[in-house]
Amino acid sequence: MNDEILDPLDAELARARSGERAALAALVQAHQRAVYSLALRMLGTRDLAEDLTQDVFMQLNGNLRAIESNKHLGFWLRQVTSNRAIDQLRRRARVPMTSLDDEQQLFSAEDNADPLLQRHLRALLSDLSPPARAVLLLRYQEDLDPTDIALTLDMPINTVKSHLKRSLETLRERTFGTQPARCEDNST
């Protein structure tokens, strides 16, 4: 029904806006996982992801009064994290997607995790342009629909849809297609 009234973090947000540090800490704890994951999968290394996560939350401290609800806060955090990661990736000519230490951390360690798919997914993420990478992560990590992704990245909805379609087609081709040798080459 009305999520904004029922969301307990809205009360924390109101307290944080009035200057209560503990309430801000609660908001950070609630959102740090999403921000960190987005930063990690966009930038590819833990150090860069931690720096970006910290910068985003410090920026939040200065913009807290502009945030109207916990839902708005989620939108704001995703937007700032995505845009700053895209800017960072564009500033650097070529970025290694992961360091060896981060390879395991890049994906969730589920019991039924598919290592082949994870390998292809990692290769796909490193091949995608920064905006296309953000689109894929917002869709499947943050579970946003294309309309929300378009709003978050300030991108036409048709561009979002075409990024998603192309990314999935590439992943499907690499995972189930007839080119396993190429995938093996990427992994070594």
């Binding site: 540090r21 704890q29 833990r46 931690e50 410090m58 969730s108 798919l117 992560l137």
Partner: protein
């Protein structure tokens, strides 16, 4: 096939938690940061920015005008002193010419009287 791969990507891309050490460091930094105070309202209203722009533009225009006028006056002063110098040179030439005429007349009179004396003998 499409739904299957989407659900598998979805599962693989579940959010991962940062390290406990980083999480503690982040919280400590956020707690230590100064809460942002609301900005005091400006005395000038919403039109302050255009007003400031107009003031700056007017000052710049006045400055350009003053420089232009000063250059024009300097040019006029130079022109005036040039005319004055020319007038003085013309005056000097006129005076020199007068003196030369007087000298010529004197020499001419002297030579006439000498020839009269010779013819009188």
């Amino acid at each position: 096939m499409s739904k299957e791969i989407e659900s598998r990507v979805h599962a693989a891309l579940r959010p991962v938690a940062p390290s406990e050490e980083f999480s503690q460091k982040l919280l400590a930094r956020v707690m230590a940061a100064q809460p942002v105070q609301p900005k005091p309202r400006r005395l000038l209203g919403a039109g302050a920015r255009p007003l400031a722009w107009w003031l700056t533009a007017s000052l710049a225009a006045c400055l350009i005008l003053a420089v232009g006028v000063q250059q024009h006056l300097e040019q006029q002063r130079l022109q005036q002193s040039g005319l004055e110098a020319r007038r003085e040179v013309v005056e000097a030439l006129r005076m020199t010419s007068q003196k030369l005429n007087l000298a010529y007349e004197a020499v001419k009179n002297q030579s006439t009287s000498l020839s009269d004396e010779k013819s009188g003998v």
